[in-house]
């Protein structure tokens, strides 16, 4: 992490601490905000938060490791969470899960090489009456069919400001991503 980036992050964390209060109960709201913006919470951020809340950095690390929505390692800009509960399983989640893997070119637990999508299983998403269910970022998709996956991913690319694939042909290749800023990311 560059010094300049650290300074920006430091200022942001101070602002978060001022907003949520410099008390232990502010820890989760602060960490969730960092997670949302940076898609993970690095060691520098953990130490900075710890210093502001006057707790040991390892306390922060312990909390980050406990919650499945907080990550100590970098994740993609868009997190895709597929419900793995029994109701979604009975509704056919396996086929949908396979299609997401095919369209993203990654397996569950992985992040695309361009750093844009991460794919994980979630425990019950509370959509049992309309499974299979997916969370794409904060966007909920219920009763998902395999044929809809491509569109859902394209919507995510657009809505989250990720450049869409320009050529229909390359959309089928998980290994090629059109990126006008190629060389900068990953």
């Amino acid at each position: 992490m560059l010094i300049q980036e650290q300074r920006v992050l430091e200022a942001e964390i101070i602002a978060l601490a001022d907003k949520h209060g410099r008390k232990r109960s502010a820890l989760l709201p602060i960490l969730l905000a960092i997670q949302e913006k940076y898609h993970y919470i690095n060691k520098f951020a953990m130490q900075e938060v710890a210093a502001l809340l006057d707790i040991h950095p390892v306390e922060v690390y312990g909390v980050v490791r406990f919650y499945s929505f907080l990550h100590a390692e970098r994740r993609g800009s868009v997190m895709i969470r597929m419900c793995r509960s029994l109701s979604c399983d009975l509704a056919g989640k396996d086929a949908v899960a396979r299609q997401i893997e095919n369209d993203l070119g990654i397996k569950f637990g992985e992040t695309t090489a361009d750093g844009r999508f991460s794919l994980e299983y979630a425990q019950c998403l509370g959509q049992c009456d309309r499974g299979p269910a997916l969370l794409v970022g904060d966007q909920l998709h219920a009763q998902v069919k395999c044929s809809q996956i491509h569109t859902i991913l394209e919507q995510a690319r657009a809505a989250f400001g990720v450049y869409p694939l320009r050529h229909a042909g390359v959309a089928h290749s998980p290994h090629f991503h059109y990126d006008p800023m190629a060389g900068r990311a990953s």
Binding site: F66, Y67, F69, L86, A122, G126, C128, D129, L135, D138
Partner: protein
């Protein structure tokens, strides 16, 4: 049994803030007395009498008191709270304000699970409209001293935080590991202060009860399980969804309503609940028989029961907080047992050992999660022993 009134939670004629209008100006004890008369028990599944919890918190001394709405609806198969928060958020917040009035709390916290973050904007707008209508904030309904406000606190993806002491740990900024009880949150809760943690449905029902009176609610259901309950129905049935039904309804009657009479088995109570076979379909859904938070998963004919059991055990292996050994290690051992059964390599002696391990977990795990985690496994291998034993190895 009388017919269903149209003004319980999901009726067509549910008034907003009628309970608050009726009781806010009166003595605070009257609110608790009304809830006690209703016989209302916690709708998260544990069934603790709501009025007792409120009374203990009212009688406890503390610098501040807190009302926490447990919207960490993480039990697989449960989605009724999602529906309530979407369609009846006002009732939930009304119930929280009444609870605050009853115990003398001025702060309410909604602990909303991370998976429901998309609901947050809606809930914030309902809260803000309530402040505008003076049914939230300072001097509610113009009553001096009736100050109560609500903030939303997001969870971050941890099933165990639905357990009330783990939820409080999480609110305080810690890992969501359950505390030993006693002391109970009603005495030593959020930051050591008296705190009540109630399920979303419980709070919404309390609002209806305070409006219509405890006797009205107590007129439905069974002697030990009064009133109506929301059931989250999913799986292999024609009409999945949320159903509001009287306590004590038989599994068979419910299956008929939802178009699931062909079911081979029903998982009652989600992953932490038990699986029943057709032989038990005449049992009742209530605290004196099959107690449940309302999750009904219908398992159709032809489904593989080992796949069902494996799904639940993988869930518990993932979601165990790791604090106590019976839950942390026990669920891994049970999952290995399921894999042996799937491979067709489990002896009866080994299955007996696994069952005995399950019993040990039930007795010795620290919290409700751990104690209930072996239930699905135990009920499936018992009810379906001829199906799960002697499996042919699959390619």
């Amino acid at each position: 049994m009388s017919t269903k009134p149209q003004d319980i939670l999901l009726g067509v004629d549910v008034p907003i803030d009628a309970g608050l209008q009726r009781a806010a100006g009166g003595p605070t004890q009257a609110i608790i007395d009304e809830v006690r008369a209703s016989g209302l028990r916690g709708r998260g599944g544990a069934g603790f009498p709501t009025a007792t919890k409120w009374q203990l918190a009212k009688d406890a001394t503390g610098e501040a008191k807190f009302v926490v709405c447990n919207a960490d609806e993480g039990e697989p198969g449960t989605f009724k709270d999602r529906v309530l928060l979407t369609e009846r958020a006002d009732l939930v917040f009304e119930g929280m304000a009444l609870a605050g009035r009853a115990i003398g709390a001025s702060q309410g916290i909604v602990y909303l699970r991370g998976e429901y973050r998309y609901l947050r904007a809606h809930l914030e707008s309902v809260l803000s409209a309530r402040r505008d209508r003076r049914v939230l904030g300072t001097a509610i309904l113009g009553i001096p001293g009736f100050d109560f406000d609500i903030e939303i606190h997001m969870g971050a993806g941890a099933y165990v935080c639905g357990e009330e002491t783990a939820l409080i740990e999480s609110l305080e900024g810690h890992r969501g590991e359950p505390r030993n009880r006693p002391p109970f949150p009603v005495n030593t809760g959020f930051f050591g202060q008296p705190t009540i943690v109630n399920n979303v449905e419980t709070l919404a029902l309390a609002a209806r009860i305070v409006h219509r009176g405890g006797a009205w609610f107590a007129g439905f259901g069974t002697p030990a399980s009064r009133g109506y309950k929301l059931f989250s129905v999913s799986g292999d049935c024609e009409k999945p969804g949320v159903y509001e039904l009287p306590m004590g309804i038989k599994v068979m009657e419910l299956l008929e309503l939802v178009g699931g009479l062909h079911a081979k088995a029903v998982q009652v109570g989600g992953a932490s609940g038990r699986c029943i076979s057709r032989a038990e379909f005449d049992r009742s859904l209530c605290f004196e028989d099959l107690a449940t938070g309302g999750a009904i998963m219908v398992i159709g004919p032809g489904r593989d029961m080992l796949r069902v059991a494996k799904n639940f055990l993988e869930f518990f292996v993932e979601e165990s907080c790791g604090q106590c050994t019976p839950c942390r290690a026990g669920n891994v051992a049970l999952l290995e047992g399921i894999e042996l059964l799937i491979a067709g390599r489990c002896s009866m002696a080994h299955l007996h050992e696994l069952k005995s391990l399950g019993e040990t977990m039930r007795l010795t795990a620290k919290c409700g999660l751990g104690q209930s985690s072996p239930q699905a496994f135990l009920s499936i291998v018992e009810q379906f022993s001829d199906e799960v034993l002697g499996q042919q190895p699959r390619a």
